[in-house]
Symmetry: D2
Subunit: 334 residues, 4 copies
Amino acid sequence: MLNTLIVGASGYTGAELAAYIHRHPHMTITALTVSAQSADAGKLISDLHPQLKGRVDLPLQPMDGISAFAKGVDVVFLATAHEVSHDLAPQFLDAGCVVFDLSGAWRVNDPDFYQQYYGFTHQYPALLEQAVYGLAEWQGDKLKEAKLVAVPGCYPTAAQLSLKPLIDGGLLDLNQWPVINATSGVSGAGRKAGLANSFCEVSLQPYGVFTHRHRPEIATHLGTEVIFTPHLGNFPRGILETITCRLRSGVSQTQVAECYAQAYGDKPLVRLYENGVPALKNVVGLPFCDIGFAVQGDHLIVVAAEDNLLKGAAAQAVQCANIRFGFNETESLI
Amino acid sequence: MLNTLIVGASGYTGAELAAYIHRHPHMTITALTVSAQSADAGKLISDLHPQLKGRVDLPLQPMDGISAFAKGVDVVFLATAHEVSHDLAPQFLDAGCVVFDLSGAWRVNDPDFYQQYYGFTHQYPALLEQAVYGLAEWQGDKLKEAKLVAVPGCYPTAAQLSLKPLIDGGLLDLNQWPVINATSGVSGAGRKAGLANSFCEVSLQPYGVFTHRHRPEIATHLGTEVIFTPHLGNFPRGILETITCRLRSGVSQTQVAECYAQAYGDKPLVRLYENGVPALKNVVGLPFCDIGFAVQGDHLIVVAAEDNLLKGAAAQAVQCANIRFGFNETESLI
Amino acid sequence: MLNTLIVGASGYTGAELAAYIHRHPHMTITALTVSAQSADAGKLISDLHPQLKGRVDLPLQPMDGISAFAKGVDVVFLATAHEVSHDLAPQFLDAGCVVFDLSGAWRVNDPDFYQQYYGFTHQYPALLEQAVYGLAEWQGDKLKEAKLVAVPGCYPTAAQLSLKPLIDGGLLDLNQWPVINATSGVSGAGRKAGLANSFCEVSLQPYGVFTHRHRPEIATHLGTEVIFTPHLGNFPRGILETITCRLRSGVSQTQVAECYAQAYGDKPLVRLYENGVPALKNVVGLPFCDIGFAVQGDHLIVVAAEDNLLKGAAAQAVQCANIRFGFNETESLI
Amino acid sequence: MLNTLIVGASGYTGAELAAYIHRHPHMTITALTVSAQSADAGKLISDLHPQLKGRVDLPLQPMDGISAFAKGVDVVFLATAHEVSHDLAPQFLDAGCVVFDLSGAWRVNDPDFYQQYYGFTHQYPALLEQAVYGLAEWQGDKLKEAKLVAVPGCYPTAAQLSLKPLIDGGLLDLNQWPVINATSGVSGAGRKAGLANSFCEVSLQPYGVFTHRHRPEIATHLGTEVIFTPHLGNFPRGILETITCRLRSGVSQTQVAECYAQAYGDKPLVRLYENGVPALKNVVGLPFCDIGFAVQGDHLIVVAAEDNLLKGAAAQAVQCANIRFGFNETESLI
């Protein structure tokens, strides 16, 4: 049994991680922590997330320094703010833990990226170079020896799973940038009070047009520019992305289907649609990314759906841990 | 044209009042105000409530004392916190305005009530005695000469419209207290950030069981005790109340129907159902309170629906103003 | 491994049963069936319920007589219409299967009940007498030898779990009938096209006032009359019941708490709230019934929440099967 | 007062038309009709649409031939199926009525279009040529003398209002087709039972990818090809369209803003956003089309929102009628 620490466990992703690890046959929760300043410190996680009542009734312990928590811990999940993850990851690595970070702090191997898009100066360029980007279906071998895994962002997961096989396979005409229209449930904004997330204020609308920091994350890892327009949807969880691309002249529907089948035919958490495209409800509460597509002439529309808190966060983190430690890739997830 | 001031115009009720007064043929908005400390001061009301864009693009002026705003004003709507309404109403009355208050500060003619349920000491017992409770269908004559109208709470409006004719008509066996189960949309909590109103946290649930201050408001005005259980519903607006009562022995369905017909047959904003009971969607966005009922033996179930922001607040306030000034009762409302 | 047949597997309950049995370590799905006339015959269950894609991709086989399906089957779940269950259960029993029926056809040991409330004449009074009512927390020993288990209705499950300990413990003054206000998600109406279930037509509203057939089911098994008012809620799944009762004079909050603790302290699928009452979201997607309460004087309000498709149907059916066959009571459910 | 007939008044658009005409100072409803075979024949429109109770309590009369209804009628609104409108419009024109058709039967001046996209052979090419396409902001003068107005489709209204000024102004590089991602509320599918519109089946998902017949309507009237991907959203009403375009090299944000201001600065039902983009809730229940945009380099994203039943149907029909008869363009709409 791997001793597992979940840091920043009060949020929606933390609650999902706690549920997965609780039922994992090879991992056990040693502690759940929150910031020492948090008003939630000392509460049970099931007080904040009553769906966990009777399953995970552990306290959220205030963490003021890692020393009291790192000892004997094999695995750490950081569900913390970007700056906090930036500071904590090196400390837990020094303590001998394997770290899975769900923030944006370790996703792009370029210190300038953080200055530009996250507003802080990255202090650990050498470590950044060693961090493995946890897009699980594409990083299998690298994950097996990773010390620090940067779990991808929610939007980038669906976008890259959709586009990477096509781009790597040379099927797209990239003179025309892929247009990614994405809609996310409100949980993507985290568990916090805010007028923008207030029930009566939420309705379908774009936000962060041209400015969302998931765009450069997508573009960097795909190696091509994209137009990315995120929307807030009037539902608690799930992401649907509709991606409009230009095929290279002559590429057929069959070639696209074969490209996807080759990439994901043996991947248990990507579900390909032979006909039609996914709906959001197909994936909510589940660890899958569903992908379907349609072709007309040189135009290709790919539709991907995932649960932003699961394949877009907690489930992919656990999937990466499963791969890292040689467990069944879907252990505790399905 | 009556010069009209809306105080506390940044909230959901304020926005509805602004829309009604804007299209009222005999009333005109002189100013919209918010607290001088409000972060919304100086913004347009249509920045906060974009549905008003192109209709009411007036600024929310910071009000620090009434003097700059009361001059020349005939009518004031107070959509302010209870304590604020308590302080402002006497000042506007002194300035010669007719005041329609949508808070709880003037609804019950008993100073102890405020200490017990609202947590402040009422300073104006004489004025409290003169305030007219604006349950419009039942206060017509008193409203015509009112200086200060206390617009009823959202839950009490539907509850009283449902029960008052039955109680006044002697149809109920009050040894068994009426059981009022009510569900309100989230806008009832006001326009403010708060975890409890956060999109992902909202789902159907009771709150304030045995402790909600609308219970004593209902009981006082009906002159009988009730059991009142409010619920938060997963919708932005509307209230549905299901009220279970005991009929006096021998009272028939026909008698109940006649009782309601007599009370509301000529009332334009109460809609009676001859068969069946109302659904929430029948009233959302509309100024009506809909009432239906069913009888079995001595058991009576009454169902009432209204929009909490309209018949439960802004529309009833304007209805009271229409009656007060001799306009058509439904002017600007339908 | 018990060979398991799910009859009527195309509906929402059938899909939940399929998911549970699929992951059950001691049960395996031998076939999923639908009526021979069904337009869904021959489709994969995951075509109808895409959340099952990659997990349960079995065909819905048309069943025209049980002979082709009963052989070698240990366990049958009937998720069929009342009349169909009435006809099929005896046949499967004759074939040596243990039958768990999720319809209303075997719930009340009184043939007249079916005539009056379900509109058909029950043909099997002797079998009706042997059927075990599957309110799992209360029928443990009887379930262990049951041949035919009548899984309770969704509303009756929450209502009885809430009231039975209080009534059996003599804590209620039953001269005043308990008032059960219940709100169910739309899936309670089943998976079928109908204007009443159409997205734009759904909003919170009572239905079946005084006439819903779950009232006599509740009353019969509790041995006391109740007032039951079901509502349709604007959400896909979940039931919340707010139950207003009269305590016998002198009964304290502590006695109520102790009564519940004694009844359910060791029951894994009933979660008691020491403070406060449950919200719908606490149980959606989960097999629990959550119960909380508040007392004021002689008035008691109990609030129960469950997922109508799970503890109100599929999960309770599997729970009954687990008890019947000596498995862990929560096997495959948590 | 213009005598006004609403044909096909049982649907969602019919109900909105009835509400608008009911409160119109220069138009009066002479009759509401449904097909003679309709199960709704003889019912009150307020039985089907209870929000109209107390406002429009007129019967839905079965219409079996126009003769009993056309006499003395000045204006006819056809809210009927495409084939029905195709048959009825010429008859009402012969009877001297001015016809506003909300179906697709008269929108494109090309008989082949109907064969290809609507599956019927258009019988009236001469009349088709005279029909005026009622995109109100762009057809003002033509509307003033129109006999037959083809009110645009819901999606095409927002798409064309967004793109037409840019295209006509030469601001776009049309080598790259505009990509229109649109999400509509469920009411767009009409008031009818169907599994796809069933409450539990609805979630965000694309449909009609590459095949929706609003694409050729948009392309024909804009004179350029577009990629159009409609989605079903989990809300009853409203449309949001996010349109990604390529600007001609060197075109600035200011030029785009000026282009829109010139087109719509004096148009009361198009609301331009100086900053930011619209949200769906800004327009639900209102007759506006809201437009905002953002520019980055040569990339332009335009966001348009409207209520599919109002500016996308009933409100635009009344707006056309107002223009046609010389009334205030927004009469009864705001």
